[in-house]
């Protein structure tokens, strides 16, 4: 996965459907060979458009896409040799499963015996060896999904695109399929570009996640980096659970800044990540699991008193909603240990957190 081993490169890509507004604004993105890259974002963020441009179904308005360093803007979809799993699988209903799988081989004029062999191999890979004679309508959702994956792989493409492939499945099946797809990716050394709006799916499967919003990649990083070190308020908020505190920078202390929370609710010491100078506004981002309830005095730079408004018992932890610094939606995940068993709704306790766990980011909205 070295930097110069790029399979796909988007260079200065812009896309507009109506000539009035840009759906994709100046996109630059590299996908390394063997990488599992997820494009994550809310609907309308431009992620599917990017995938469709890569597949060749939408022309780029400006810029160039390179596949193995060859510009492909003028290459029609059927010559790109990219596998794709569609949102609703797009299995051809008038063909059997085996015929569906044989289709890409047939149009490539691969002879019959090899065709059969490869179809069988692909079906075995998704554990559907016995289903070759069925019609798509006779398959369950999960089976159809696997067939769609098998079909996208049967002609050995270097790159496979997946457009929300698990969206139609129920939760259990979805989680199971996430692992299956991940295993296939690892076993075959595929390069996958995956589109989803489900952040947990993105976190589970990806090597890297590109977070889309408003036609721009907000951040592109491995899951743990994205979660631990979001670079802006959108990413912090979109990935995982997040407490937000809004305020104004009152002091710059090198690595840290002091931020006065709106409404004179106190001053927080936070890690300086993405803020302007003193006087600028900032959004503070703090993960619920990084908050300590009833900390030892002096052990944390930020300690505030909070009133427990609501406790939800979730087994391994207790999800507690506090009113802190004037925000009544401050969530804290308290590990289920005897220490905090006494906490009840309405209690007021001290809560605190470290400066490096609290990231001072751009002022959103």
């Amino acid at each position: 996965m070295s930097n110069d081993d790029h399979l796909v490169r988007f260079v200065d890509i812009q896309k507009s459907y109506d000539g009035e507004s840009l759906v994709v604004k100046n996109l630059n993105l590299d996908v390394a060979t063997g990488e599992f890259l997820t494009m994550l974002g809310p609907s309308g963020s431009g992620k599917t458009t990017c995938l469709m441009m890569l597949a060749g179904f939408e022309p780029a308005t400006h810029g160039e896409i390179y596949l193995k360093e060859n510009p492909i803007n003028r290459v029609p979809p059927h010559k790109r040799g990219i596998g794709m799993v569609f949102q609703n699988y797009a299995l051809f209903p008038h063909m059997t499963v085996a015929e569906n799988l044989a289709f890409p081989l047939e149009v490539r004029h691969i002879d019959k015996s090899e065709r059969e062999q490869r179809v069988k191999r692909a079906l075995d890979m998704v554990q559907l060896g016995a289903f070759g004679d069925r019609r798509p309508a006779q398959l369950s959702g999960g089976q159809a999904q696997r067939v769609a994956v098998a079909r996208s792989l049967v002609f050995d493409p270097d790159l496979v695109l997946m457009d929300e492939p698990l969206g139609a499945l129920d939760k259990n099946l979805r989680e199971q399929m996430q692992y299956e797809i991940k295993h296939i990716h690892e076993n075959l050394g595929l390069t996958v570009v995956y589109v989803t709006h489900d952040q947990s799916e993105a976190l589970t499967m990806s090597n890297r996640i590109a977070v889309f919003d408003d036609g721009i990649i907000q951040q592109c990083a491995p899951p743990e980096v994205l979660y631990e070190q979001p670079e802006n308020a959108f990413c912090a908020n979109f990935i995982g659970e997040n407490n937000r505190l809004l305020g104004k920078v009152v002091a710059d202390e090198g690595d840290n800044v002091k931020v006065e929370i709106d409404g004179d609710a106190g001053t927080v010491v936070a890690k300086k990540v993405n803020v302007g100078g003193v006087g600028e506004r900032s959004t503070l981002s703090l993960r619920p699991e990084r908050v300590t309830v009833d900390p030892d005095p002096g052990s944390l730079p930020n300690v505030f008193s909070g009133k427990a408004e609501e406790l939800i018992y979730l087994g391994d932890h207790i999800r507690t909603r506090f009113t802190v610094c004037g925000h009544d939606d401050f969530i804290v995940k308290i590990p289920n240990s005897a220490v905090h068993a006494h906490l009840k709704e309405g209690d007021t306790v001290n809560i605190g957190w470290n400066a490096e766990d609290c990231r001072a980011l751009d002022p959103s909205d």
């Binding site: 597949a55 060749g56 179904f57 029609p76 979809p77 059927h78 790109r80 040799g81 990219i82 596998g83 794709m84 569609f86 949102q87 609703n88 797009a90 051809f92 209903p93 008038h94 289709f103 890409p104 149009v107 490539r108 079909r151 002609f155």
Partner: protein, 419 residues
């Protein structure tokens, strides 16, 4: 809770002691009655407007009762006749009795029927019946005085065709065959053969029109299904416009377009494509029938195909191309097969409508563009030979059923989608 349930050896019983089955039936009865009431009006409608008329048609196409009721003695005498010698007094006496006893209208109807067997019977019977009151024996002489055709054995012989209460004569007539006097099936004279030609032409026209409609409708339906809503709606209005226009207006418009001195010919001559003497004959012939029927029946093809295409997500075409098929190949291998239910429905619809069409062929068919439907209409309205019309209607029904059966064999009727 503590009390053990009774043994379950007997039938299951509900809480109030009524057997479960009975209780269930009771609760279902209401919904059954309601369902029956709901179905009743369309069912009655179907019986009155479909089953009864078709039953009536089948009966009429073979019925030959009346003649046997009117001339019972005559047929009895006919049986003992040697069919060679000149009819004798007993036969004349028999027909005298029958004609004298019969109701005037029955004689009228019978004479019409007899005329189908042998032209001339009608005026012979009528002229004789007019004088029957004043006749005295010997009847042979009296009959010959009334009309000298009574000596012509052919009239007498033709009775043999009508002696049964059921006849296949109308069906034979409808396929250019007839009974000879011994009730053998024979071809009609060469110069009277009309129906087989018309049957063949009707099927030919129906198939050509169906194929032409398919060819024209497919791209239109595709456009309708794929264009943006706003433009598609406009196009849809254009497709449906003919439905809102009187049939006659449309046909007349075609006449103006296609006749020898019509718009199309004038344009072609003006453009120098045709010389003035070689104007195309596109109207009042086979071509005219095909062209106009195709236009009129086109919506019947477009709509079912469109409604099927509308349900095909564009992702199939994308998937096929993504898998390596050229757009053309993707269309042929992936898109078209999925439209077959619509194609099937459209073809069956157009074919069935076309095969019974008669207004258009009547107006634009001229000498060789008229179809079997025109003959059915003619025999219903003009010649009043309802037996023959019914026989032709029945054959039409059978032809349609045969094509339906072929369709079922090839494509499968479950696969048909009307929309």
């Amino acid at each position: 809770m503590s009390a053990a349930p009774e043994t379950v050896s007997g039938p299951l019983i509900t809480a109030d002691g009524i057997p479960l089955k009975e209780s269930l039936q009771k609760s279902l009865r209401r919904s059954k009655i309601r369902a029956a009431l709901l179905v009743a009006p369309p069912l009655l409608f179907l019986i009155f407007l479909f089953v009864i008329p078709i039953g009536n048609m089948l009966t009429r196409s073979v019925d030959d009762k009346l003649i046997n009721q009117v001339l019972p003695n005559t047929f009895e005498a006919f049986e003992s006749w040697d069919k060679v010698s000149e009819p004798d007094e007993t036969m004349f006496a028999a027909i005298y009795q029958d004609l004298k006893a019969a109701d005037k209208t029955d004689i009228g109807k019978a004479s019409v029927r007899m005329n189908y067997a042998k032209p001339g019977w009608r005026s012979l019977v009528k002229r004789t019946a007019r004088k029957i009151k004043k006749m005295e024996p010997p009847y042979k002489e009296a009959f010959l005085k009334a009309d000298d055709r009574w000596t012509d054995n052919e009239y007498w012989l033709s009775l043999g065709i009508m002696k049964d209460k059921r006849t296949m004569g109308y069906y034979l007539n409808a396929v250019d065959r007839t009974y000879d006097f011994d009730k053998n099936v024979v071809h009609v004279d060469e110069n009277r053969k009309v129906y087989n030609l018309l049957w063949w032409r009707t099927i030919q026209v129906s198939i050509i029109v169906t194929l032409a409609c398919l060819l024209l409708a497919y791209p239109v339906a595709y456009l309708l299904a794929t264009l943006p809503m706003r433009i598609a709606n406009l196009l849809m209005i254009c497709v449906l416009m003919p439905f809102w226009t009187s049939l006659l207006v449309r046909i007349v418009a075609w006449m103006i377009m296609l006749q020898q001195n019509g718009v199309v010919n004038d344009t072609l001559v003006a453009a120098g494509v045709l010389s003035d003497e070689n104007r195309l004959a596109m109207m009042y012939n086979f071509n005219g029938t095909v062209i106009v029927m195709t236009q009129i029946l086109l919506p019947f093809m477009i709509l079912p195909i469109f409604s099927v295409m509308k349900t095909i997500p564009p992702s199939y075409m994308k998937a096929a191309q993504n898998l390596g098929a050229t757009p053309t190949l993707a269309f042929i291998r992936v898109y078209m097969p999925q439209t077959i239910p619509g194609i099937g429905a459209g073809c069956i619809l157009v074919f069935i409508v076309a095969i019974g069409y008669y207004i258009t062929p009547e107006l634009v068919g001229g000498k060789d563009g008229r179809l079997i439907g025109n003959m059915v209409a003619y025999h219903m309205q003009r010649s009043l030979n309802w037996g023959l019309a019914a026989a032709m209607g029945t054959i039409l029904l059978i032809v349609i059923l045969i094509f339906y059966w072929i369709y079922d064999k090839i494509i499968g009727i479950d696969n048909m989608k009307m929309g």
